[in-house]
């Protein structure tokens, strides 16, 4: 029994202390995957805030945008033109979804809209595999001028490796978040978006077109998805299995709160770092693969004590 308690509460920390370079490496790896979780969660939050729709298709939008980019490049389109064309495709997707799906489902209960996005997920999976094939593809990293080397840092005789892709991912994600924040607070459209998030009817009454706003939010979520798709594709590959990993954005949302942009980021980082640490230091006690469910169980525990998340608005029910 003492041995068990030691291996849970003692040994992992001793390992962290003895090999600080490895510890830093694990934190860094967790940090980078946390950024990617945060990006996916950000797409969810944008749509949830603007329309109250829980967009289940966000994960597949990440895959779809990545596939479109790679597929266009494979047709011989130069990388940056392909990037622009992908952005156009994401706009077309947002427009089509609003026109064909959302507009017809106004005023339906949330569960119906949620299920419509599951149907949408199916369409995007089937369509994506139909057009681009189901095999995994590698992201056009060098063509997009994303650095691929690695830097080595040696703190006190240790060894920590930073992939340049990961650094680029962190920087790009930070830029994206800053520009989104500026867009929300400084531009007219951004203010309209915030007004819609606050109150649909009031914003309608001051002349904001809800349909237009929805297209813009889905487009913004599509852009976030594209960035997440590029970064994730550069780290591993572009494949449909990413869709299951993208479900991890859900526990991130629970942790951060469904309506909070900073919450999505902080939640993503907590989940990313937490699951890596747990996998490396506590995972061997349970057998490997705990990464698959750790995030969800953390979210489950969290839900029991603070259902609104770290930064979410308090859930008040009125009758």
């Amino acid at each position: 029994m003492d041995g068990l308690i030691y291996s849970i509460l003692g040994d992992p920390f001793v390992q962290m202390w003895q090999m600080p370079d490895f510890f830093i490496q694990v934190i860094w790896e967790g940090f980078v995957s946390g950024i990617l979780y945060a990006l996916i969660a950000l797409g969810f939050v944008l749509i949830f805030k603007a329309s109250g729709i829980f967009n289940f298709a966000q994960g597949i939008m990440v895959v779809f945008s990545g596939l479109t980019l790679v597929g266009l490049h494979a047709l011989g389109v130069p990388a940056f033109v392909a990037l622009l064309m992908t952005i156009v495709v994401m706009y077309g997707l947002a427009f089509g979804i609003e026109r064909l799906v959302l507009r017809n489902l106004v005023n339906q209960p949330d569960i119906i809209l949620f299920m419509a996005t599951i149907g949408l997920t199916n369409i995007l999976i089937g369509g994506g595999q139909w057009i681009f094939g189901s095999e995994t593809k590698s992201m056009i990293t060098t063509e997009l001028l994303i650095p691929t080397g690695s830097s080595v840092w040696e703190p006190g005789g240790g060894l920590v490796i930073f992939q340049h892709i990961d650094i680029a991912a962190a920087v790009i994600a930070a830029l994206l978040i800053v520009s989104l924040a500026l867009f929300f607070s400084k531009t007219k459209v951004g203010r309209a978006l915030r007004a819609v998030a606050d109150d649909h009817q009031a914003s309608l009454s001051v002349g904001i077109s809800l349909n237009q706003i929805w297209v813009i939010t889905w487009f913004a979520a599509g852009i976030v998805a594209l960035v997440a798709g590029i970064m994730w594709g550069a780290r591993s590959d572009v494949s449909f299995s990413l869709q299951i990993i993208a479900l991890k954005a859900l526990p991130v949302l629970v942790l951060g709160g469904f309506t909070s942009v900073p919450g999505a980021i902080v939640g993503g980082l907590i989940i990313g770092v937490g699951e890596k640490l747990f996998e490396i230091y506590w995972g061997p006690l349970l057998g490997s693969g705990v990464e698959g469910w750790f995030a969800y169980v953390i979210a489950l525990v969290f839900l029991l004590f603070r259902p609104q998340g770290l930064f979410g608005e308090k859930i008040i029910e009125r009758v």
């Binding site: 017809n104 949620f114 149907g119 949408l120 089937g126 859900l250 057998g287 969800y296 839900l303």
Partner: protein
């Protein structure tokens, strides 16, 4: 003309309360039952090869109908969305496997029915968060169940008797001298066993949702605060819904492995299957027993038929047809949500209404 209640008078309270008050409904269901029991096991489905009709269509459709019934109790009647169905089916399957390993001589049908209780216990455990959270937050809780249980099915080697392949292989079991499970069982036997269990569970589900407990589920679904105010205990209503739903899922999972697949790995219980079952429930109709039958039959047979059609008529590769059917199902889901959010069951009801007033328009 053929379907109206005129002239059928009820003379006692009990007659009003029966499950199928209309004579036409009774006759209709009797015809379906006669066909299912006396025609299908011997001749299969018209126009299809016998073993294909049994193994690829009839048996899985009946099994998934049980799943859809269970999920409908949770999603349609109680209003709690679950994405953990696949894992709860897995719990039933592994429980059945362990039970029949320890008690090889006990009737396998009893073991299948008993393994549902293990699944019910697990389901109620993972339903606990539903007391504090609802809606999409609950989706996350059920996803936690899904991924955690999937991991258990891989890592806990005791569950599959330390089999190096990681799969469970169904042993041969006999009931009254007839082989029911394993490779030697005939399709007709397996079909009839599944059908029997399905009919039994349908009767129970139909009466549960008509009764006191079913009404408390529907009150929780429609407005939980109001339900609480007039004396429905959310704890009891929600957890019983989770338990009953998981019982159905567990039984169908055990049936799926023992009477249909014959062997199973963790892939048979993954999250994509959970989505498939949710589609069946949405498509058939939330909160409808008939809808569970229609949804399971439609969602399961539609891709198969599409694939056959593509192969025979247009000579298209089956991989492409698979993607086409994914897109088609997605579009159908969106379409039916827009046009008729209550699913096929509602269309069926509208059709019956039309028949009642025919030949008049109103």
């Amino acid at each position: 003309m053929f379907y109206r209640e005129a002239g059928q008078f009820k003379t006692s309270y009990a007659e009003y309360l029966q499950a199928l008050p209309l004579r036409e409904d009774k006759v209709g269901i009797a015809i379906w039952l006669l066909l299912a029991v006396f025609y299908v096991p011997f001749f299969g489905l018209p126009g299809l090869e016998y073993t294909f009709a049994m193994n690829a269509i009839m048996i899985p459709v009946l099994i998934f109908t049980i799943t859809a019934l269970g999920l409908n109790i949770l999603v349609g009647y109680t209003g709690q969305i679950s994405l953990g169905t696949g894992a709860f089916m897995g719990v039933g399957a592994y429980a059945c496997y362990k039970l029949t390993t320890y008690f090889p001589d006990v009737n396998i049908i009893l073991i299948i029915l008993a393994s549902g209780f293990v699944s019910a216990a697990v389901g109620a455990l993972f339903g606990l968060p539903s007391l504090r959270i609802k809606g999409f937050y609950l989706v996350v809780a059920t996803l936690a169940a899904q991924f955690f249980l999937e991991w258990c099915f891989i890592r806990v080697e005791w569950l599959y008797n330390y089999n190096p392949s990681g799969a469970i292989e169904v042993p041969q079991r006999e009931v009254f001298g007839i082989v029911v499970t394993g490779a030697a069982a005939s399709p007709a036997t397996r079909y009839l066993v599944v059908l029997g269990i399905l009919i039994f569970l349908t009767i129970i589900a139909g009466n549960l949702v008509r009764g006191r407990i079913g009404r408390s589920w529907m009150m929780i679904r429609d407005m939980d605060i109001a339900a609480e105010l007039i004396g429905v205990r959310p704890l009891r209503a929600k957890l019983s819904a989770f338990a009953v739903s998981s019982y159905y899922c567990g039984v169908s999972g055990a049936l799926m492995v023992f009477l249909w697949l014959g062997a199973a790995e963790v892939e048979s219980f993954d999250v994509n299957h959970s989505f498939l079952y949710l589609f069946m429930v949405i498509f058939g109709g939330l909160g409808s027993i008939t809808g569970s039958y229609m949804g399971a039959a439609f969602i399961w047979t539609f891709p198969i038929l599409l694939k056959e059609l593509g192969k025979r008529v247009f000579d298209i590769d089956s991989i492409i047809m698979e993607n086409v059917s994914l897109v088609a199902i997605g579009m159908l889901i969106v379409f039916i949500l827009i046009k008729e959010p209550h699913g096929l069951a509602r269309l069926w009801q509208l059709g019956k209404q039309k028949l009642r007033i025919w030949p008049f328009a109103h």
